[in-house]
Symmetry: none
Subunit: 400 residues, 2 copies
């Protein structure tokens, strides 16, 4: 069966006359670009500024205006929680508070010593008829899920997003949020009792680390199961990613998610392992989605050379291995994270679309400006997915 | 704070191998075009034919399918009337009728001698519980506003749009329009009584001018206050324009509107004054909108040389002054008014988008054809506004 490899270099697009992509030495991309179709990807739509979660929903063919319910569920799914409809999920930070519940460090110094034990202590708390799951991911981060009847995500965060502020009271945004707000505030009290003298915190203090004595919550999202890629398009898809968020969005749409040793979601990620995992999946899946985070992180840091080197590393360690091993290869970004802006922007991402039968635009280098005016024109994320489906012979004809 | 200058050269786009824009000598535009991003603007959407009012609503980020309620309110706002929700506004012409209410000249010969006094006589008429405002703008034109309870814009015009026709009876388009239709027909009678022997008309006749002895109405629109650019986007914006319509749309969306001496909305407008006003506003506003009408008027007249000369005048008197004075400069049209068509057409307008961090498309001249295939792709008016908001760091991320 025909297959397609979709590679998302997170935050790939940039601005300016010379960009990390235009400067990077990419001998492997250079081989396929002349015989590729090119275009511009406005993931959500022209002029819209995508988050990482909404951008990936769109790339997977799920219009975020219809399907997005907040980030929490993706974090929880990515952390391995098996969500059920009605569960309300949050991103959690373990943080350091003083006796008066004032936040001294929103990340408890980031050091994750003992944090898995602390999350394990919080996992299984029950308040009224609501069971609470708490799962550690990386450093201070985790996912917290409230499971019970009558919950909604119409509630404010307990994370005040600033230090020297008290842990925030959760407040209902409307009547439907009253129960979850009450449970969240009960959770804050319970966490305070459980963590203030927790053995892991005694050990942290003995080691000179800040105690991780509170968990604050943000990004509420109500989970509702949606039809999978298989249900909607007959598409068998797999996700190869380091970051929990991307795995979470992939699970949400029904992709298989594999853990690849050395796929860390950082610049140090082992791209040869990811390439090998993608190649292994080639005979078993229609769509092989690979996410590479390092380009975005360098963009956020304003690090031109770092972004450029990350692109060169991807070319050397990943594209060198995968080119020639798939029927179709699509290379793009989920959005732009220009080093001059240090944030996501509404600039489109470049797209390279290669297969033996595509319309070759004859560009000599894969750059933002060279992708303008190409055979793909400009596409949204969901449009690109349907274009890929068509090449996989899975797009339904409208009419006859 | 970063700022953006949005210059609309009305009806800029044209058709054919050589266009006024491709022929015009524009040394100032030529300096910035190579380092600009380019694209095509379909103000309302591809294939849609924009009016001046709907095009500007879209450019300001207000989808006209949602916000447009007829032209009248924009004319009234532009004429300086302070509208309240529920007011019904019209564009008005003073015209010449005979004893049998047959229209002999829809513009009373255009000569505006005494017309301000005539509008002043009509201003303040009261019929039933409805107060009527009548404001002179230019030549025979003005705005007439009906203020009172239970009015709607579901009514036909009293302007028959032809000579040798009687002043039309206003007719309700549905039940909601019955009251306004009755008031409008009462207004026609009242105007007839007040103007047939009006001193200004006696003077006009003595001077050999046609009497301006009737006011006919068109373009009914019900005013409803909408959230401002500040409310919706935190955007502080100012409008520099000669024409009442453009000022009216700007007021509708909450822009500040300044009067610039010599800004006439005609080919004779003083563009140096407009440039200076724009530069003065640069430190005080996020978005400085400047409207220049002359290009459209030449298009309607089928005057290739006039349109070409107007573009050259804008380059020499306006762009020479503003280039280098703003962080971002966007130059476009609200639609195309090709000289061969002498009307608005659905052809897209070219866009030039310059700032220090944009993706330079390296074009050597700002023309319709050179803007195709550029880094901006094709945008609608509202999409362009969001793209500008992103550069002003005011676009909200959807997702996280």
């Amino acid at each position: 069966m025909p297959n397609a490899l979709l590679v998302v270099m997170d935050g790939l697009g940039d601005r300016g006359k010379e960009t990390p992509l235009s400067k990077a030495q990419t001998p492997n991309l250079d081989k396929i670009i002349p015989s590729s179709s090119v275009g511009l990807l406005y993931t959500l739509g022209p002029g819209q500024l995508p988050g990482s979660d909404t951008a990936h929903l769109a790339l997977f063919g799920y219009d975020p205006h219809e399907y997005y319910r907040g980030r929490g569920p993706f974090e929880a799914l990515g952390a391995g929680v098996d969500l059920r409809s009605g569960d309300v999920s949050f991103r959690a930070n373990l943080c350091t508070i003083d006796d008066k519940m004032i936040i001294l460090d929103r990340r408890a110094g980031r050091a994750d010593y003992g944090m898995n034990k602390i999350y394990a202590t919080l996992d299984g708390i029950k308040i009224e008829d609501v069971s609470i799951r708490a799962i550690h991911t990386v450093e201070h981060r985790g996912a917290v899920v409230f499971c019970g009847p009558g919950l909604s995500a119409a509630v404010t965060n307990t994370d005040p997003h600033e230090t020297n502020q008290p842990v925030a009271q959760a407040k209902a945004a409307d009547k439907s949020g009253e129960k979850i707000a009450r449970i969240m505030n009960g959770f804050t009290q319970k966490v305070h009792e459980l963590l203030k003298d927790h053995p892991a915190n005694k050990e942290r203090i003995a080691k000179g680390l800040k105690p991780a004595n509170m968990a604050v919550l943000r990004g509420a999202g109500l989970f509702e199961k949606v039809p999978s890629l298989q249900d909607r398009f007959g598409l068998k898809a797999i996700c190869i990613a380091g970051g929990a968020l991307y795995k979470g969005v992939a699970k949400f749409v029904g992709m298989d998610v594999i853990e690849v040793p050395g796929a860390t979601g950082t610049a140090a990620t082992d791209l040869a392992q990811k390439a090998n995992a993608a190649i292994d999946a080639a005979g078993k899946y229609d769509l092989i989605f690979t996410h590479i985070k390092g380009t975005d992180s360098s963009g956020h840091d304003g690090n031109f050379d770092g972004k450029c080197k990350m692109i060169e590393k991807i070319d050397a360690d990943f594209f060198s291995r995968v080119i020639g091993k798939f029927d179709t290869i699509i290379i793009t970004g989920d959005h732009s994270t220009p080093v001059s802006a240090k944030r996501h922007t509404a600039d489109p991402a470049p797209i390279l679309f290669w297969n033996a039968a595509c319309r070759p635009d004859g560009r000599n280098k894969f750059t933002e400006v060279n992708c303008a005016g190409g055979s793909l024109g400009q596409l949204t994320g969901t449009q690109l997915l349907h274009f890929i489906l068509d090449h996989l012979e899975k797009e339904h004809m409208f009419g006859e």
